[in-house]
């Protein structure tokens, strides 16, 4: 069951990511990315992180990507031009990416046994629910980082407002 779910959504993920790569219009890329994110949300859920799955949908798919789409629409960005700005990206970058992929895949397969197996359902001990546990840790142990991120968000909002404001 889990393998089926994983395969379906993994394929969906990769297909979405590749579509992001091959689509030439940014809005299509954005929608592909939404597909990737939704699929990832399902995968999170199969890994027992249902809160993150919801957050993924709400924050990433629902807010961040909408923002992207919004900006694409606002700037009325067309299809991208085929300019050749960088040879380095092809000469050094693409082989590098291939090497990274090959290396990582090799290493993960090599260490497969040590990494263990995932089972469907909660990732934690089942005495407390996942969300309860997250909230407990977040609001006790990691309260300071949590508060700091709130400051970060505030700063980001102010920065975005200042940056995007039209000069008088």
């Amino acid at each position: 069951m889990q393998l089926v779910l994983f395969l379906i959504f993994a394929v969906l993920c990769v297909a979405g990511a590749l579509n992001l790569l091959f689509q030439r219009h940014p809005i299509n890329s954005a929608l592909s990315l939404v597909v990737v994110m939704m699929s990832l949300a399902v995968i999170y859920w199969t890994l027992g992180a249902e809160f993150l799955a919801a957050a993924q949908v709400i924050v990433y798919a629902g807010a961040v990507m909408v923002l992207f789409v919004f900006v694409v629409m606002l700037l009325n960005a067309g299809e991208e031009e085929r300019t050749t700005g960088s040879r380095a990206a092809y000469i050094a970058g693409i082989p590098g990416v291939a090497a990274i992929l090959a290396l990582l895949t090799y290493m993960f397969m090599h260490e497969r046994a040590a990494l263990g197996y995932a089972t469907l359902g909660g990732s934690l001990n089942h005495t407390t629910s996942n969300i309860t546990e997250i909230s407990r840790v977040l609001f006790t142990e990691l309260l300071l980082p949590f508060e700091v991120t709130s400051i970060l968000i505030l700063v980001a909002i102010l920065g975005a407002v200042v940056l995007a404001r039209k000069e008088q």
């Binding site: 954005a30 961040v64 700005g85 993960f108 546990e133 920065g159």
Partner: protein, 100 residues
């Protein structure tokens, strides 16, 4: 029973597609999206490891990544808008003020 390695390989694939798209794409917004894709790929590894070690901290890390990504998206898109206003283009090959 799916090996954790599969999740990690999926993450690696997504990450590499992210890098590749960063390399190939010219549109700055799309490039920004590929960054988000890479972040997501990394998040997946966090969740997978959180599952493996039965620890909630991996998930909380993902939570923080999301928050930061949201902030980053807000600021980044504002910058993109500012760049577009100044340069009338979104093509990164033409946004090379750093050169010369």
């Amino acid at each position: 029973m799916v090996p954790i390695a599969y999740y990690l390989i999926l993450a690696a694939v997504l990450f590499c597609i992210g890098i590749g798209s960063f390399l190939i794409k010219r549109n700055i917004i799309t490039i920004f999206m590929s960054i988000e894709l890479m972040l997501n790929a990394v998040n997946l590894t966090f969740v997978a490891f959180a599952h493996q070690w039965k620890l909630v901290h991996g998930q909380i890390f993902v939570f923080f990544v999301m928050v930061v990504a949201a902030a980053e998206a807000a600021v980044g898109l504002a910058i993109i808008i500012a760049i577009f206003r100044a340069r009338q283009t979104l093509n990164v090959d033409q946004i090379n003020l750093m050169k010369n």
